[in-house]
């Protein structure tokens, strides 16, 4: 089957290795991947900061770009939540009938990565090998927005060699919150401090999640403190095999 | 101030586009509205909940009620009790100083050691005792000022769930007090302290009148 990859603006620029991992993983599973080079951003940053008109124009662009895609895979729960939760409101004004129709037709074809694997492909064993101690952080958009539920756990359970350690207070926000991390940098850091404590208590070598936004925030602090834990996106773990381990892992 | 009244109502009407319906619409009431326990299960639950909040609970048959009450009163070590005017006379065991509330002052009630009342209903799920302040339950102040309260509850008036209590009310009560624990506060460091205001000692006699 074919699928179109929406890499997300920040993954494209800051975490291309996550994108490469998604490609490796999905192609290994037999998906014919497309990448529409017209893509930029889903509009979340603007929408969440209150710049609604700007968010609308980005949302409209997204819908037009992917009208004909068979399936759109997005390795970011916050972007998928934006599309599902906020696009309807953005397109609600009268005069957007055509756009609304296109969006409604598009919506069932939008998948977050773990949703695509479990729901669309019906697989939880993706043939991954990652012999490390790992803990999983439940990003708020995935947890409460998308209700990803146990999908990431089912996927992690089938990764050979992986030792999963439960994270305490797993459902407590890490403090990133988009522009919140800048506008309220001190409170964001206070929340991060508590989350770091929970992560480090697991003594895991890797902290993973479905969102690089949380991981950028967590990983940035872990790096600052010379902590013995690193972050990486779940896609990188799932893409990792014995012959082709995840990038940057010895 | 009728100006404010009109302005507020006008603002509200503009905000809700003036629409009003004449009857209460169909609300989704899919919550539990009936218990699943049988009579003895209900009773056991009521006892368990009452004991969880340190109420002293005993059961008795209807004929044994006066004797059971006398026993409770004797073991309290107290002497002066205030009672509502509608309390059955046979409940007033001899040997105690009974103050019938026919308009007692707060000071007179304050001077009593305890109070004895009937009750309207019990809700087992939360261990709630319901007072509708009838003649046998008394004015609200009676069950508030004294430190010791003996409450008579008939098992036929115990329901399992809160919605079933509402089923019991023929009409909504004008006055009601719902007691589900001793007075408590957790305002200092979340440490639960009991007995702030209101009776610190609650004794309940469950009369098995529906055996």
């Amino acid at each position: 089957m074919r699928a179109s990859l929406f890499i997300t603006c920040y993954n494209d620029t800051l975490f291309p290795e996550t994108g490469r991992a998604v490609v490796r993983l999905l192609e290994r599973l037999g998906i014919a991947l497309e990448f529409n080079p017209g893509q930029t951003c889903c509009g979340q940053m603007h929408a969440n900061t209150g710049f609604r008109a700007e968010a609308f124009s980005q949302a409209k662009r997204f819908v037009r770009l992917y009208q004909d895609a068979e399936a759109i895979v997005i390795p970011s729960t916050s972007c998928v939540a934006m599309i599902r939760d906020q696009y309807p409101g953005l397109f609600a004004e009268p005069g957007n009938d055509a756009l609304r129709k296109e969006f409604v037709a598009l919506l069932p074809r939008v998948y977050e990565l773990s949703e695509f694997l479990i729901d669309r492909l019906g697989v939880d064993d993706v043939g991954a090998y990652f012999p490390h101690r790992v803990t999983y952080h439940a990003s708020c958009h995935g947890l409460r927005g998308l209700h990803v539920g146990d999908r990431p756990f089912r996927l992690l359970a089938k990764v050979r060699g992986l030792e999963l350690v439960a994270l305490e207070n797993i459902d407590r926000c890490c403090g990133f919150g988009g522009t919140f991390s800048i506008k309220n940098a001190e409170v964001s850091s206070a929340m991060l401090s508590d989350k770091l404590h929970d992560v480090l208590s697991t003594q895991a070598e890797y902290c993973t999640a479905l969102d690089n936004s949380c991981l950028m925030h967590l990983g940035g602090a872990l790096h600052r403190e010379f902590a013995a834990t690193r972050t990486l996106h779940l896609a990188q773990i799932l893409a990792s095999t014995q012959t082709d381990p995840a990038e940057g892992i010895a | 101030m009728s100006d404010a009244r009109q302005q507020i109502l006008d603002r509200i009407r503009r905000a809700t586009s003036g629409g009003s319906v004449t009857e209460h619409p169909d609300l989704p009431r899919n919550y539990i509205r009936h218990g699943s326990l049988d009579k003895s299960g209900r009773l056991n639950l009521m006892v368990e909940r009452l004991q969880e909040y340190d109420a002293d609970v005993v059961e008795c048959a209807p004929d044994d009620l006066p004797a059971c009450m006398a026993d409770r009163l004797h073991s309290s070590g107290k002497n002066r009790f205030v009672v509502p005017p509608g309390l059955p006379a046979e409940w007033l065991a001899s040997g105690f100083d009974w103050k019938l509330d026919r308009g007692l002052t707060h000071a007179e009630i304050e001077a009593c050691d305890g109070v004895v009342t009937a009750s309207f209903a019990g809700v087992a799920d939360s261990g709630t005792i319901v007072l509708h302040h009838s003649a046998s339950e008394g004015r609200r102040v009676l069950t508030l000022l004294p430190d010791w309260h003996l409450c008579i509850l008939r098992t036929s008036q115990i329901v399992e769930t809160l919605p079933e209590y509402f089923d019991l009310c023929p009409l909504p009560p004008t006055l009601a007090t719902y007691i589900s624990g001793p007075s408590a506060t957790a305002d200092i460091e979340m440490t639960r302290i009991k007995g702030v205001h209101g009776p610190r000692f609650l004794h309940v006699i469950l009369v098995r009148d529906d055996a």
């Binding site: 620029t13 080079p37 | 109502l9 007075s183 506060t185 305002d187 209101g198």
Partner: protein
């Protein structure tokens, strides 16, 4: 005790107000402990309630029905309450409410008034107005008493003194009650408060309360409490004044079977709180014979008019949102500069101010939605927060000063970049080149200037990779399937 400003018109914006509080490790510990305790109790009881979601749905529907027909229910309540001997007053704003209450007390020649905790009275700044009129307000709720004697402000809707620890309470009681004999044992402190207040209950003839639920069908008022000070204030005095927001209604008595179940579990993690009182107007011989209700608008009718924001008024003041909020957990209520803090405060306060003040509050959230998950009346707080942010920006955009505001400039530039793929690619290249200046040998950025410094103050940032994903994709052999 730090000077705390809970007047949204003058309080510092949230980020600034939070700063000194974040350095108050004792307060942070108290808040974390308190919220953890209540959260755990709530979670346990909600888990055992198999019809919890059905109750939430019903509670939200009941409140939406009230809001959709608010004029009708208010008029019905007024008629029933009046028929039962009560007096109903209407106040458009805080000043009117204060004036009505002072007038009633003056008529009764009251010099003192005992009070049950009511956030609404703090909202209208009632106590200073009473003081100015020569009437001493005596708070009887233990937490409110602690705050009043300590000249402090509430930091939580249900447990207002949760930022105060036992030795602070001991010190306050020693200084203000003259009780220098007390230990810091909560039991002893509570006993001291009990005897201090008992004298007041038995001697003060006027009381002021709020209302948890007013029943339109019968004109009854319901108050939910734990300590018993409520029953004291509602029963012993001759004059009772209930101050309530216009939204504090339920249509019929029966609706309490839903509201009481969700409120107790959400607020204190109990199946039912110790004492709930219900009374209707005046009952001869039982309780206050002079009863007044003051219905307060103070901005609520404006909120009612707005489609997305109306749900704010479903709130039953349980504070479950505060207890679960990871932001509130770090700061407590004082950082919000309002008597209403936490998630509900972030949406209610600016709206009560007609969006003229407290504009930083809708941004005092990471949009994690934990609040929405626990709200017993299903207020989608994140949805309202985002809507209010849009309103703040729509207002601010028009101001000339925003032309120089980095955040506004940045957002406009970003939008223009996202509008076209080639501009996006160009921005990626320029960004990579620009950030190279700050990228150290280890490939990481440790310090950035300007807005970037807000990130790098506590976090490193990995330098931008040499090749973006789209460039890597474009460089792949074209004959791949």
């Amino acid at each position: 005790m730090m000077q705390v400003d809970l007047d949204p018109r003058t309080a510092l914006p949230f980020p600034q107000a939070a700063l000194p509080i974040l350095r108050n490790t004792q307060l942070r510990k108290n808040v974390a402990h308190a919220t953890d305790v209540i959260q755990a109790k709530r979670a346990r009881l909600v888990a055992e309630k198999t019809d919890w979601q059905a109750l939430r749905n019903a509670a939200a529907a009941i409140k939406d029905d009230v809001l959709g027909h608010l004029d009708r229910y208010l008029v019905e309540f007024e008629a029933r309450c009046t028929a039962a001997g009560g007096h109903v007053h209407w106040a458009s704003d805080a000043a009117e409410a204060r004036s009505i209450i002072v007038e009633i007390l003056r008529t009764e020649k009251a010099t003192e008034a005992i009070k049950i905790k009511t956030m609404t009275s703090a909202e209208i700044q009632l106590n200073p107005a009473l003081e100015a009129a020569g009437i001493k307000a005596v708070e009887t709720d233990l937490a409110e008493l602690i705050l009043q004697l300590g000249e402090d402000e509430p930091s939580h809707i249900v447990a207002p003194a949760l930022h105060v620890n036992r030795s602070q309470v001991r010190e306050i009681f020693a200084r203000r009650m003259g009780r220098t004999d007390l230990t810091d044992d909560p039991q002893a402190l509570t006993a001291a408060a009990r005897s201090y207040l008992r004298r007041k209950f038995l001697s003060v003839d006027t009381a002021i309360c709020g209302a948890n639920f007013m029943v339109a069908e019968t004109g009854a008022v319901t108050i939910v409490e734990s300590e018993g000070n409520g029953r004291m204030c509602l029963t012993l005095p001759r004059t009772l004044i209930a101050l309530a927001g216009i939204e504090k209604l339920v249509p019929i008595f029966r609706d309490l079977e839903v509201m009481l179940q969700v409120l107790a579990r959400s607020a204190t993690g109990e199946r039912m709180n110790p004492y709930t009182s219900l009374w209707t107007g005046v009952t001869p011989g039982d309780g206050p014979q002079n009863f007044h209700v003051v219905l307060l608008d103070n901005g609520r009718s404006s909120i009612l008019a707005r489609h997305t924001e109306r749900q704010t008024l479903r709130c039953i003041r349980c504070a479950a949102c505060q207890n679960t909020c990871p932001v509130y957990r770090q700061t407590g209520g004082h950082a919000y500069g309002s008597v209403y803090g936490g998630p509900i405060g972030a949406i209610l306060t600016p709206q009560l101010m007609h969006m003229d003040h407290a504009q930083s509050l809708p941004y005092a959230s990471s949009l994690c939605a934990a609040c929405y998950e626990v709200c017993p009346v299903k207020i989608n707080i994140p949805e309202v927060l985002i809507e209010l942010r849009a309103q703040v920006v729509d207002r601010e955009r028009k101001q000339a000063a925003r032309a120089f505001d980095l955040m506004y400039i940045g957002m406009r530039v970003a939008n223009s970049i996202f509008a076209s793929a080639w501009r996006f690619r160009l921005a990626q290249r320029l960004g990579r080149i620009g950030l190279r200046l700050f990228t150290k040998k280890d490939g990481w950025i440790h310090a950035l200037p300007s807005l970037g410094a807000r990130w790098t103050m506590t976090r490193d940032l990995r330098g931008l990779p040499d090749q973006t994903f789209r460039d890597w994709w474009a460089s792949r052999p074209k004959d791949r399937v």
